[in-house]
Each structure stands twice: as C-alpha cells, then as structure tokens.
C-alpha cells in the first residue's frame, strides 16, 4: 500500500510539533549567524585592523598561517575583505530595505485605504515597475548615475518595492473595513491619522517579515552589482571580491569561495529569522508571505 493510505495529509499534532521544533532551532541558528555577522561588521575592523585593499602578502597564498583565509591575486588579505565587506552588505542591506519599505508602504497603504481612482493610478505605476526586471533596472540606474553606495541603495530600493506595495495594499484593503477604523472615522479623525495611528500598527506583522526578507534581497542585489563591477570602488564588498578573483579561480579558489559563503550565510540567516517571524505572527497559516 502506498504511504498515502496510512498517513493523513493533514499533519498530526505530533508532526506540527516536530516541525515547530525544527523551525525554532533553525530560527535560533539564523539569529546566531546574524548576530555574528553584525558583530563582525561593528567591531571586526577594530579587532583586525587590516586594510583589505593593501597588497600585504604574496599573491595566491593558501588559507592558513599568517593569512587565515589566504590572499588573492593581488596579495590582498581575504579575511580583511570578508570583515570589511560585512559592513557594506549590512549597511546597504538595511538602508535599501528601509527605503524599499517606505516607498512600498506609501504606494500600498494609500492605494489600499483610498481605493477608487487613487488605487487605480498607484497600482498602474506598481505594475510598470513590476514588469521591468528588477536587477536590470538596478544595473541601468547605477550605470547611469555612477556607482556610489548612495546610488546603489537608491537603485535597489526603486527596483524592489513592488512586493511590499502589494502586501500593504492587501492588508489595508482588509483592515479598513474593521470596526476600529469606523470608530476612528466617526470620531472625526483625518485620513492620515487613521492610516498612521490605527491601521499601520496592525499591518506590522507582514511588514516585519517583508522587511527581513527585503534585507536579504538587497544584500544579494548589492553582491550582484559589485560582482559586475557596478559597486562602489571605494569600499570593499563581497560581490566585488568574487568578481575580481573569478578569473584566478584555478590559482586561488578561496578568494571566491569564502566571500560567497559569507553572502550565503548572511542571507540564509535573514531568511530563517524571517520565516520564524512569519510563523510567529501567523501560527495557523500554511502559506508564505514572500511578496
């Protein structure tokens, strides 16, 4: 008999408990990794004050000995690059995500709350941006406006806000019918106040989840942009390390592998924390809020 005859397709309480147990462990792992990355970016450059751009050793030195993670094709310290790169990734990640949320909330909240023509107009604009391949748009913006951390952050946020906008609109559409909104309106509160004070706090859960995933996406975008040579030339970035060293893969695989692992674990930890937050706020749902 196939397994299906014995097992139900609705998970038993035991299965749910086991899954939650794993999810909690995964979230814990995510939190630990994230804290490590955060600490590295904050105090790493002071504890290990090595300039990642300086050619300090022989090129192509394998990991171990004086250079814990080896050197690249110019003799630059890979470990220093990883530490400095964490600053870039987290800075761009959080700032771009914050901007993305702001734009997305603006479009989504107003569209969801006012409906009608306002919603139509705002949603049309959202559709334009949704159709344009986000990474390509970011590339073009950074190329046109010259690569600096600022333009990169702006480029990422204007390429990724549509997901947030859709989520917020859905939330506002449902929340605006609720009693507390009707009560506020009856009390004569103005629209802006209702949006900011009443509805937005209630839309917080999906926003938080969206934000945490947004940081991960922003980090991946920044890595991709730097990889292609569109990064800020004055800061060290994990993507830049991979991009510049990939021609020398045969001679120094560590110069490419370790920055990539850094990106991977950072984004993974954000994803784990985001998933846990999602479950925390929606214990009964089976779905995922990924915008």
């Amino acid at each position: 008999m196939p397994a299906l005859e014995r097992e139900t397709t609705r998970p038993t309480p035991l299965v749910l408990f086991w899954r939650r147990h794993f999810k909690n462990k995964a979230a814990l792992l995510g939190l630990v990794i994230l804290t490590l990355v955060l600490l590295t970016s904050l105090i790493g450059p002071f504890l290990y004050a090595v300039n990642p751009f300086e050619m300090l050793g022989r090129k192509f030195l394998a990991p171990g000995g004086k250079f814990f993670l080896g050197t690249d094709y110019l003799g630059r310290d890979v470990l220093a690059g990883i530490i400095q790169g964490s600053r870039t990734s987290l800075l761009v990640g959080f700032t771009a995500a914050a901007m993305m949320m702001t734009i997305g909330i603006f479009f989504g909240a107003l569209a969801g709350y006012f409906g009608g023509m306002v919603e139509e107009a705002l949603m049309r604009v959202t559709e334009f941006f949704q159709v344009i391949p986000s990474f390509l748009l970011a590339m073009v913006v950074v190329a046109l406006f010259q690569p600096t951390l600022g333009t990169i952050i702006v480029a990422i946020s204007i390429s990724t806000w549509t997901g947030t906008a859709r989520i917020l609109r859905a939330e506002f559409l449902s929340l605006r019918e609720r009693d507390f909104v009707t009560a506020a309106k009856a009390l004569g509160s103005r629209s802006l106040r209702i949006i900011l004070r009443e509805i937005l706090p209630n839309a917080l859960p999906p926003m938080i989840v969206n934000a945490s995933l947004g940081v991960g996406v922003a980090i991946l975008f920044e890595a991709g942009l730097s990889f292609l040579g569109l990064g800020d030339p004055n800061v060290m970035s994990w993507g830049f390390m991979i991009g510049s060293s990939r021609v020398y893969l045969r001679q120094a695989w560590w110069a490419v592998t370790f920055p990539g692992l850094a990106i991977f674990f950072t984004v993974l930890s954000l994803s784990l924390v985001g998933d846990w937050l999602n479950d925390f706020f929606n214990p009964k749902s089976k779905g995922r809020i990924r915008g």
């Binding site: 397709t9 334009f128 159709v131 391949p133 990474f135 190329a143 784990l272």
Partner: protein, 327 residues
Amino acid sequence: MGSHSLGWYILRRMLQAVPVIVGIVVLNFSLLHLAPGDPAMVYIGESGGATEEILKAVRKEFGLDKSLAEQLWIYGKKILTGDFGFSYFQGKPVLELILEKIPATALLILTSMFVAIAVGVLTGVIVAQRPTSVSSAFITVFSLMGWAMPAFWLGIMLILIFSLYFPVFPGHGMVTAGLEGTLGETLKDVLRHLVLPASTLAIIYIAQYSRMSRTSMLEVLGSDYIRTARSKGLSERKVVYKHALRNAVLPVVTIAGMQFGYLIAGAVLVETVFSWPGMGRLMFDGILRRDYPLIMGILIFSSSLVIVANLVTDILYGVLDPRIRRR
C-alpha cells in the same frame, strides 16, 4: 459566445498591456534625462568616440533643443518602430545586436525553466505523499539554501567542481572554439556547454518550485474532490497523477511566469560567469563600456519580454481554469 470566451479574454489581456508599455517608455526616457550630464552623451554612450559632428547629429535626431514633451514623442515613436538606438561601440543598431544574441539566451532560459519545473513539480509531488519523511525535510532545507545562494557564486562553484577539479563539462562559452563537425557533433558540443550554466539557474529554481509544488499538492490531496475520486475506487496512482497533479501544477506555472523577470536577471549573471554569448552577456559588456543605448535598449526589450511572458501565463491560466476568463 459572450465575454466568457477565450478569444475575448486574450484580447482584453493584450489591450491591458498597452499602457504598461507606454509607461516603460516614459520611465526609460525619464531615466535618460535625469542622469547627470548631457543627454546627447547618454544617447551615444561613453565609448562611442563622440565627435562634435556626431553630437550635433544626435541632438538633431532626438530633438534635444525641443520641449521635453516633443522629445518624449520622438523617443516613443522610435521605440515603437523598432529603433532602439545605435551602439556606437559595437557599430550596430541595438535591436540587431539583441536579436543576434537572443537565441542563446532563450536556449539557456527555456532549458533551465523546463528542467526546473519538471524536476521541481515531480519532487514536490513525490514528497507530498510522505510529508513527514527525511526527503521532505531535505526539500525544505534545500529550498531555503537555494534562495540564499547568489546565482553567480553557485555558477563559479560548479565550474570549480565540474570543470576544474573534475573536468567533466566545459565552463566557458557555448561552443568549443575551432570545432568543425557535423550538425550532430555541433549540437552535442552546445549541449555539453549548456549543462553547467543551465544547472546553475535550474538548481535555484528547483529549490523554490519543489517546495511550492509540495505545498499545493498537500492542499489538493486533502480536498473534497480528491476524496471523491478515491472513494470512487480509483487507484492511488491515478488519483495523484491524473487529477491532483493538474491543480498542483497551476501555482508553480503561475509563479514561473511571474518570475520571468528574475530569470532574465539571473541570465545576466550566469551568462557573465560562463561567458555564454547571450543577451545577458551583451548587457554586461554594455555596462562595462557604459554603452547607454545598448543597456537601455536591453531594458526595454526585456521588459517587453516580461509583458509577453505574463500574457502567455495569463492565457495558459485561462485555458486551464475557465473560471478566470470572466475577469
């Protein structure tokens, strides 16, 4: 027939695409003019060897002395007649360059997508029948990892393992240079070169699709009409593959269509890593040389592709689920 027919639905969808295309042209035009520097330079690109004559000619052609509205009109007309600009660096019209490289990218993207959907849906279906097994946990872990992994890094790792350490597959280009053989041999050569880049893209998407497929299969298998099919005495195999599968495939296909834009972006990174001669690599070259006409032309072109992909997905949806056609 009325408004429920497939024909009207398709027409409606196509008409809805028009304002979106207009919006994209406007957006590109705005970017062009917001960028620092002389718009004429942007129309030429920074490595076109802009002489005074060329600058004057460009100014005249795009009407840079006229009002913004008129300039927008000129620009829009050009796009709609297929004039996406001229790449002074490569010495060819942008559209011609794009059309030259599109087949290679299409080969890469379509192969990756088909493999990803096929493998993803199948693994999801199989795993959905054992929701508490190790393989199910593996799918969850795998999908998390797939999302967090930078595509370009995964590609380089694959080259490291399967091209450098164990020389199984070539890691560069689409064909072996200087290889002259029969059609069959050339085809085999191309396929060998296709394996690693396509696998890179496919792995990342399989990670997502398998998890999605599992979720939707689980939901479908618990539904009423599957229970009915079972109580009719149909074999489990028939229940799963003939009835449930169709409904479980739908969300995956929808998401795949929606993610076409991401696939194009992935193509840029993967083609760069593997030196695959497609539109993505063309974009990278254009970025490198600040060949603005080329990169903006690719932006418009790929946006149009996404519109078409959305249209196709919508139509597919309308075919598979007639309830949708009323919208």
